[in-house]
Symmetry: C2
Subunit: 172 residues, 2 copies
Amino acid sequence: MRRFTFLLIAVATTAGLVAIIGPAPGHADEKSASYVTEIPQGYRDWQWVSSAHEAGNLNSLGGVLGNDVAIKAYREGKLPFPDGTIIAALHYRYVPSEENNKVFGEAQSFVPGAPTNVQFMVKDSTKYAATGGWGFGHFAGGKPGDAAFMKSCFPCHEKAKGSDLVFTRYAP
Amino acid sequence: MRRFTFLLIAVATTAGLVAIIGPAPGHADEKSASYVTEIPQGYRDWQWVSSAHEAGNLNSLGGVLGNDVAIKAYREGKLPFPDGTIIAALHYRYVPSEENNKVFGEAQSFVPGAPTNVQFMVKDSTKYAATGGWGFGHFAGGKPGDAAFMKSCFPCHEKAKGSDLVFTRYAP
């Protein structure tokens, strides 16, 4: 919370001029700008939901993990996800595996390279009521994304209304 | 075991003619042809090791999971993997996600499609002494791969000697 407050102050300070010449920000908007600012403990031990490759600029290969609440809901096909659900997306550079390709004799194998970021969706229908009940988190090198970046999460995830704002399906 | 015996009989029967005109199989070879013939229980609950995309003919997107022994060894960088290690590779068709791509506005998102097979490496340095201490398993639709296919596992994995015959690295 302290880190988040600091972030808000930093953004408020640097964005001061914009605030003066721009429209006055609505109070409702300010209230809704709550993101996940602490990395959920133990997420690397969670069970696997699925893998994904994002081509193009993202150039990412990732694993999506879920805490017990998430895995249970996924397996039962329960929508919306219940409060307490946390979904983690671990992202890495999408790189060819030189050592695998030597064995296979062709450039066919692509694996996770350097870690890029870890993203979280935390379901708390009260705390995150303004963003569909989900708190979004993004951490690169252990540090949370800035407020401008974090504002882009909800509008995009909102388009996945049919699956409670969650893009990732469970791989059986 | 029963399934494995049945498989051996079936292969022996259909391969009868080949056996007659081919060289007599060595007893040592027959002894070493032991594969994993039962799907290890509960593997879908195991922790995530990494993800991988195999392009080309395989056209596969997968998740690699490990039992507790495997995960501990991976995290400690322990080589060779101790007896009791089981590594599972869950493979799916590598397909574009139409629903994600609609949101992103471009064809960037690739996800697991239909499951194709699940493969296992089981470490038992006594039982599988002839194949580097590893028993290999391959299951498509719940059924084990045939003997001819299973024979191809070890010669390929043997090339990854530096990592105890295991291709997959742990994604941090």
